[in-house]
Symmetry: C2
Subunit: 638 residues, 2 copies
Amino acid sequence: MSTNDTDPLEAVRTRLEDEIPDDLVVSRVAYEGPKLVVYTETPKKFAERDGLIRRLASILRKRITVRPAAGVQLDPAEAKGKILSLIPDDAGITNLEFYPATGEVLIEAEKPGLVIGRRASTLREITQEVGWTPEVLRTPPMESSTVDNVRNFLMQERDDRRDFLERVGQEIHREPDGDTEWVRVTTLGCCREVGRAAFVLSTPETRVLIDCGDKPGAEGEVPYLQVPEANPIADLDAVVLTHAHLDHSALLPLLFKYGYDGPIYTTEPTRDLMGLLQLDYLDVAAKEGRTPPYASEMVREELKHTITVDYGDVTDIAPDIKLTFHNAGHILGSAVTHFHIGDGFHNVVFSGDIHHTDTRLFNGAANDFPRVETLVMESTYGRRDDYQTDQDDSERNLIELIGETAANDGTVVIPAFAVGRSQELMLVLEEAMREGKLPTMPIYLDGMIREATAIHTAYPEFLRDGLRDRILHDEENPFLAEQFQQVDGGQEMREDVAGGEPCVILSTSGMVTGGPIMSWLELLGGDPDNRLIFVGYQAQGTLGRRIQSGRREIPFSDRGGRSEQLTLRLDVQSVSGFSGHADRQGLEDFVGTMNPRPEEVICVHGDEASTDQFSSGLYQEFGMRTYAPRNLETFRFD
Amino acid sequence: MSTNDTDPLEAVRTRLEDEIPDDLVVSRVAYEGPKLVVYTETPKKFAERDGLIRRLASILRKRITVRPAAGVQLDPAEAKGKILSLIPDDAGITNLEFYPATGEVLIEAEKPGLVIGRRASTLREITQEVGWTPEVLRTPPMESSTVDNVRNFLMQERDDRRDFLERVGQEIHREPDGDTEWVRVTTLGCCREVGRAAFVLSTPETRVLIDCGDKPGAEGEVPYLQVPEANPIADLDAVVLTHAHLDHSALLPLLFKYGYDGPIYTTEPTRDLMGLLQLDYLDVAAKEGRTPPYASEMVREELKHTITVDYGDVTDIAPDIKLTFHNAGHILGSAVTHFHIGDGFHNVVFSGDIHHTDTRLFNGAANDFPRVETLVMESTYGRRDDYQTDQDDSERNLIELIGETAANDGTVVIPAFAVGRSQELMLVLEEAMREGKLPTMPIYLDGMIREATAIHTAYPEFLRDGLRDRILHDEENPFLAEQFQQVDGGQEMREDVAGGEPCVILSTSGMVTGGPIMSWLELLGGDPDNRLIFVGYQAQGTLGRRIQSGRREIPFSDRGGRSEQLTLRLDVQSVSGFSGHADRQGLEDFVGTMNPRPEEVICVHGDEASTDQFSSGLYQEFGMRTYAPRNLETFRFD
Ligand SMILES: [Zn+2]
Ligand SMILES: [Zn+2]
Ligand SMILES: [Zn+2]
Ligand SMILES: [Zn+2]
Ligand SMILES: [Zn+2]
C-alpha cells in the first residue's frame, strides 16, 4: 500500500465536513449497507437546517441518515418515560428497546402512524428530546409467529448485522475499476418452463443473482448454479429476490451453504414470507422422505443477510448498479425490479411475477420507469388463448359453485397457495357472506394460510388503499371474520370437518404436490356431492395439472406408508380469473403501456408454448426485439 | 482414495489383453495425446493379424498405434544402414534421427512418398526389419527457416512433449462425470466485426476455446478472455485453431502467459504458419512502439503444446468431444472444424474462414458431415450486394491493369496477406507470363511472402491436386519461377526497385496497417503512372479500407519518427474475386448445400450489416433459425 492511500470512508467524512457549516459537528460516519450514517453531537442543528441532508445526499450521491452521536442520549430509563409521554396512548406500544451501539430505539406499536406523527413530527420531537433515533415497527393486528420470530432473531443478531452492513456498505461504495462496457443477463432457469427462477446480471464490475427458486413438480430440476457465470457463488456481489414464492426463493439458503456471505435485497414482507415458505419447504421434503438441500440453519443465515428495501427507494447495491423495487401486484411484497446500470449506460427491468390490473388485495403492477431498455418478462399465461374471465364474473361463478355444493350438502375444497390467492379468496368469500350472496358457513384454513394472512396484516402499506384502512380497524378487518377457522387439530379435526356440515376448505399446497390438501382429497374425494375447485395456475408435472386435465385415479400413501390408488368421484371445476398472474391481455398491456417502452423483451417463466407465443405476439404488436430463450443462454446489452 | 481404485490405463491394458490372441505380447500401453500407443515385443505378429488394430480401436473407442517395445530395436548405427538400404535413393533423405524413449525413427526426405512405399509397404518393412517405428516428414522443396526452426525446436523438446502428451491423453480419456445435458457456445469476439475470433464451446464436462485472434486496425480490442466462461484460463480443456491468420491466432500465446498448460489442436501447416505470423506480430508491435502482449518465449510454449491433426481424422479431445478438421479452402491448413459432442448428443461446426469454390491453390471448403445441428458461420462478404467477380474475369482484369501500368512504365504494388492471397497471385502471374499474356517482368515479394510460400511447398498434400503434383517436380514448381525475387536488401533495395524498370510488388501487410507496404507507398505513391491494386478484404478501421474508400492523404512517420502527411497520386484500383473468402453467393451455397442441413446458423466474422443481412438471408432462403449475435452472448443447444 502506498502512503497516499486514505481510508475511503475518511475521505467521505472530509468531503462531508467541507460541505456543512462549521457549527455542525460530525463525530463519526459509517456505512450501514447502502446507507451512509452520520453520527453528530449536534443533531438539533442538523435537523434545523432545512434541506441540508438532501443536499449532502445529492453531492455525495449516497442515501444519508443522521443520528445523534453516542453521549448525547438520555439514560434509557429516563428516555423511555419521555418517549411514552410524547406518543399518544392510542398508538398501542407493545415493545420499546434501546440499542446503545447505534443510538437507536426500536418502537413497536399497533398504530405506528401515531408514533410517527404528522409529517414525522413526533419522530423528530423524540430525537431532539432524548437523543435516540427511533425506528418504528407495526405490531401485527393478527398475531404472527413468523413476524415475531424474524424480528426477535434480527434483534438478537443486531451486533453481527452491524458488522455485516458495514462490510456491505464498503463493498457498495468501493471505487469502480473502470467504465461499464457491457451488461449481460444469463438464464440459469425459468426459461420455457415455470419454475427455478434464477438469473445472473453481470457487468465488468459486478455480478448479481436475481431469484433462486425450485421447480414445482420436478424436485431434481434446480437452477444451473454450477455454471461459470454464477461462480464462485461466494464472490457474487448481491442477490435480489422479486417475491417469496418458492419457485423464486426456495434455494436462496443454499447460496450460504456454498459460501455466499453477501446481502439479499428484498422487501420487508417478502423477507418474512420467504422464511415461512422455506421452513415449510424443508418440512415437506422431510415428510416426503427427501433429503432437504439445506438445513434450517441456512434460512437463519439468509435472514441475517437480508437488507429490506421499500418500493420506490433507489438503492445502490454496487458501485455501478442501483436497484429500485416497484409494486408487482402479484403477492404481498412482490416487486417489479429495476436496475439502473453504469450511470445511464443501461436499464434492465425484471418483471418477476405480476398482476397487471388491480385485485382485491393489491394495486396493479407498476410499469412506469425513468428509463428501461431491456425487460425480462414473465409469460405464465402467454399463450394466444390464455384469457381469463373478468374477476367479477369469476367471483359470481365461484360463489354459485359453492352455493350449489352447499345446497347439496356437499363441501368445497380449494387448493391454494398459502400466500396471495388464499387471501384474495378470503376477501371474496367474506364479502359474499356479509352481503348475503352466500349463506354464512365455516371456511377452514389449512396449512400455512392463517399464518400467511397474519403476515399480510403486519404490512398493510403493501396492500390496496381501501383494504389497508379496513385492516387497521379491528371491527372491519375482513381477515378477522368469525367464519374463518384455522385447522389446528390435525387429522382428527379434518375428519370431523369432513364428516360435518357443508363448508369451504382452503388448503395448501396450491398445485396438489403434497401438504394437507392430500388428506382433504382422501377424506372428501369419494363423495360426488363434494367439489374440488382450482383457482390458480397448475404447473406441468404437478398432480393438480393432471387432475385438472381429467385424471381421476391418483396415487396415495396410506398411514402405513404403502402406496395406494385413490379414485376421485367429487366434482372437479376450474375457475379462472383469480390468478395472481396477469393473463395474456394483461401481460401485453403491461408491456404495451410501459413507459418508456422497452427496446427488447426476454420472455421467461412460462412453458414453451407460452413464451414462444407471447414473444412473437409482442414482436408483432409492438415491433420490439423479443426472445424466448432457453436456460443457460446469455444476452449482452450495450 | 479407496483401495478399489485401479490405474485407468492399467484397466485399458487388461481390456486389450483380453481381446488379443495369447501369442501377442503387450509390454506397455501409454497415451500420446489422443492416441493410445501399444508397445509390443511381438510387432511382427501384430502386423500379421489383419484388421486386429482396427478392431481394437473400435472396441476401445480410441485411436491405436502399435510400436515395437524397447529392446526389440536394432542398434541405431546398424538400423540406419538397413533403413537406407530399404528406401530408394530417389527419396532424397535429408535427416534420420533415432528416439530410444519411444522407439521412433524420424525420416525427413524430399520425396516422402518413396519412404512410405505403396500402401505403406516400405514403412512396414522398416518396422519389421529394424524394430524402430518410422515417422516421415517432407523436406520442403523451398528452404523454409520456419519449418526448420519448428521441427528442430520440437525435436529438442521431445522428452518434455512426451510427458505433456501422456498427461493430455489421461485427461482426454478420463471417465466423464455424467451425461451431456447441454452444449453452450459463448462469443468472446468476432461478432458484428471482423477480428478477435474467440469462442468458448462448453459442456458440463469440458470447456474448449476456439481461436484467439486480434482485431486488425483496432489493437486495443482483444477477445473478452476475462469473462467467467473462459476462466480460469488454466482450466480450459483444449484450444482449437481454425487457421493461422492473426485475427484467429494472434493471442493464443497469451493463454500460456495466463497459465494455460493444455493442448492446441490444429493442422500441421497452421502450426508453422501461426508461429511465423505471431513472431512477425511481435516484431511489428515492437517497431511501432507498442508493448507486445506477450514475449516470443510464449510462442515457443504454444508450439510445444500444439497437437497436429490431419483433415478427416476423428480425434478425441475430451471424454465427451470428438474433433474433425476438414479443408476450408481459405488458406494453407485452414479448417472447417466439426465437434461431435456427447455420443450423438449434438454436433457443432465452426466454419472458420472459408472459400466455397475451388481456387488455384485449394479445393473448395468441405460441407459434408455425418451430422451437424449448429453451424457457427463466417459472414465476411455477407451483405446482399457482396458479389465478387468470377475468378476468370478477375484474373483478366488484374492482368490488364498490370499490363497497362507496365506499358506506361509504371509499377504495380499489391498489398497482400503473406499467407494465401500472395500465393494465389503468384500462380496467376506466373501463368500469365508463361503464356505470354503479360510481359515477363520481376515480381518482388516483400515481407514474409517468400517464407510463407516455402511453407506451402512443405505441405503440398494440403493444396489442390494438380498444383501438388507440379510442386513435387522442381522444373514445374510455379513458385520457383525466376521472376519471383525476394526483397532481401532492405530499404536500399526498395529504393533501387522503385527507381528501376516496371515490375510488380507484392507486399505485406494486406490491409496497409504497417509493414513494408508503407515504404512502398512512400516510394511509389507520388507517381500517377504507378498503381495500387487491392485484391483482398479491407477491414473497417484499417488504412487499406480508408484508401479504398477514396482517402488520399495518409499519415506517415519519416525516418526520424516525426509524423507527416503523404499524398497518394498513384492510381488506386480494387479487383475483387481474389479473396480468400467466399462471396455472398458462396456463403449461401456453402450453407445451402451443406449435408445435412444445419438447424441453426450463428453468423459471425463480418461487420454488422454483413452478419445481419446474411443471417436474414439464410432464414428467408432456407427457413433455418439464424442469429447475428453480439460479443459476450451465450447460446445453448440441446
Ligand atoms: Zn409467484
Ligand atoms: Zn413464479
Ligand atoms: Zn408464479
Ligand atoms: Zn482468415
Ligand atoms: Zn478471419
